[in-house]
Symmetry: C2
Subunit: 177 residues, 2 copies
């Protein structure tokens, strides 16, 4: 794998901008992947992330059962795969095969890393208390991987196939972590 | 006011891309505003948003007390104000005056709308159950305002003064709401 591990204290720099994510689970038959835009950082150390899934998502049951997932950050060049993964279900589709995504073994969780994504986070569910009410899983990032400084261009879902694409274009003096 | 009300069913199109927000509260002495990047959509109808604040934020107590706020979406041209609001406290600074922001009366909440932001959402706290553990307030958007299609260019905080700037640049066929 050509990604390097990076400090957990820098995970928020990737997730805070609100990119669309590919959430991968190990599954019982084959790994699955879903598109996720409803997530936020919740704590810095250790990095906790709130992920909101619909109970209709095939990945919902997998995440409840496995208690593990990876959060993968696709670059803008993966837009068609992101849309593809969001418009079908793992119930009847092997999405890794259908969309040409490559599962790679993670280090601390059974869920796979998605090789085509420039950043991947290994996560464990640490609080399921808001799952029944909001479909919200609190996950802890336990290992983080990144290829270079990627993704340079991030995708941000704005509904119905519209995406904003972001790049790092502004640097101001600031003490906001 | 030159903003128009828009449907609550379209609020997710503004929040889902993960822009940095300016959260305004009415306060007891004067209105206050803070910079917020830790939020996610939680439900579509009515639109519910999870906002994670630090108990150290001056706005934390105001939001607990008032149970109301506005979420204002700054365009990229407001970057210096966004950084300014994030690097000082309402305890000792009148941020509206200090950063040249204009409070306008909202319709359904006491917290002000920030005129310079092209989109503003009036919100009420509907669930404080996760405040003690995570600083997470679940707010319901009860009224939504937008100037044209703005903001065209959104700010996404990547830590320590680095911002990604996003524009709507991709449109793909998709059934993902």
């Amino acid at each position: 794998m050509d990604k390097s591990a990076f400090e957990l204290g820098r995970v928020h720099q990737l997730l805070e901008p609100g990119p669309v994510l590919l959430l991968a689970t190990a599954g019982t038959q084959r790994p699955n992947v879903m598109t996720l835009s409803w997530q936020t950082m919740v704590a810095f150390d250790p990095p906790l992330v709130a992920c909101v899934l619909s109970a209709r998502d095939f990945s919902f049951a997998a995440l409840q059962r496995d208690g593990e997932c990876t959060l993968n950050i696709p670059g803008a060049e993966l837009a068609s795969q992101v849309v593809g993964c969001g418009n079908c279900s793992g119930r009847d589709t092997d999405k890794f095969t259908a969309f040409g995504l490559t599962p790679r073994p993670a280090e601390r969780v059974a869920a796979p890393l998605i090789d085509e994504c420039d950043a991947s986070l290994e996560c464990r569910v640490v609080d399921s208390g808001m799952v029944a009410r909001y479909g919200m899983f609190i996950v802890e990032v336990v290992r983080a991987w990144r290829r270079g400084n990627g993704p340079e261009r991030m995708l941000h879902h704005a509904g119905w196939g519209v995406f904003r694409v972001s790049e790092e274009t502004l640097r101001l003096p600031s003490a906001m972590r």
